[in-house]
Subunit: 291 residues, 2 copies
Amino acid sequence: MTAFQNLQDEICQSLEELDGEGKFAQDLWTMSSGGGGGRTRIIEAAHIEKGGVNFSHVSGTVSDQLKKILKKEGKQYHATGVSIVLHPVNPFVPIIHMNIRYFEMDDEIWWFGGGIDLTPHYIDDSEAAFLHESLRSVCDRTDKAYYSRFKQWADDYFFIRHRQETRGVGGIFFDRLDQSEGHSKEELFDFVLGVGQEFTKIYKQLFVKNFQRKYTDDNVAWRNYRRGRYVEFNLVWDRGTRFGLETGGRTESILMSLPATANWIYDYKPEANSAEAHTQARLKKGVDWIV
Amino acid sequence: MTAFQNLQDEICQSLEELDGEGKFAQDLWTMSSGGGGGRTRIIEAAHIEKGGVNFSHVSGTVSDQLKKILKKEGKQYHATGVSIVLHPVNPFVPIIHMNIRYFEMDDEIWWFGGGIDLTPHYIDDSEAAFLHESLRSVCDRTDKAYYSRFKQWADDYFFIRHRQETRGVGGIFFDRLDQSEGHSKEELFDFVLGVGQEFTKIYKQLFVKNFQRKYTDDNVAWRNYRRGRYVEFNLVWDRGTRFGLETGGRTESILMSLPATANWIYDYKPEANSAEAHTQARLKKGVDWIV
């Protein structure tokens, strides 16, 4: 899967160009038990306040805990993936997340998973439409049924249950895509790589459009408040994060997804008819962003 | 259980006196399903940056989910408690948590739970000793075996597994104390009320000693970084928080435990031999704080 490592390289290079000043720092790590490790790359910069672009490839004996989670029997596994979260400085640039992953057990069982979802601090309907159109076109190249299915999956997955609100404007999410999909491993591999490549195009457009917009202290306060929700989702509900923390994954690589700073205000409600109230009201499942 | 409500009143009054300026705001709420509700009281003030002192009393039909968690059969339940978390402004004043609770099912099954634990941003061994001596003396009044047992329980409970560090200097934690303890319901009720009353004495001493100490921006940065750990513990591991969020409890009352602001810095390590490094090194289970 050098393709995944190459993708990580390409994305980091593009993001450094976007930020203009920041450079990724790299930590190479190896698993304390089992085999493999990863390349964790973190940027803390002028425009991308905190971001991570991680590659990992781990392998080992299938534990009882893993069997329980997978609901499958197996002996040896390999898992590899690229995972990204970016927290920008400018409140008008959205938070973005991308992940693609491949899992294999005993040479017989294999699947792909992944997705992209966008968490704007301020929802702009045209930007949400652009995101979803981009994702639909990537999906359509492999399977015309994918977009609507994976869009709904994202709505369900990126849902903050205790707030009854979505994490943002969604995107696509998919898991355990295998031969039962009617596509070969090569086709599905191309699909997830396509998702990874689309990530850069999407974020570049949203970043360039907004990163120099003027903003106020109130915009920053709202950004930090929304980041609090991001923390809540990731620590309470995100299965990937929880699986990692519960199974002794590398904590600092997993929690690169958390923002540099997040705020909580008791029972905060945005002012009626404000941009903040508009965003709050749009955080629902089932919105057709493509008009 | 008007004693619990009275305790809430007393504690709020004492904390307002300590802060000197802040006043608690109260939200009365009722359960959307089942019966009962609560009095959530929040302070956002000059010295206590964000704190909650909550009382609740809820009742209802025992759900399948609750049976699974309790590992007991039952029809009707009552649960009541007082729960406190305070996040001070001054980095040399510790974060503190106190909770006492009573649970009853079908008039036959009942138990008490609770505890106090302290999370200093900067550990001061003499203050940790004072905390533990105070808690030992409260425990000893009911049962000489309680302190060492509940101290260890707190070490195990307030443990951030994915960091392999304790949340702070511990304290006491206990759950499901019932007649099998060899104490009557009245004795155990007195015990938990004693814990609640001790809370004020403990916090007053630590607060008054430190709230006017001078501090630097670096102290604030470290405070916010340690608050990040508090968020991680509460959202990932705290059973009370997770139970509440997963069973449709009142989110804003549950998450009053989160700080106004928290920071994350990738793979941060305090400077060698600094006060921060001293604190980091002391966050271990099994420390005998009483010397």
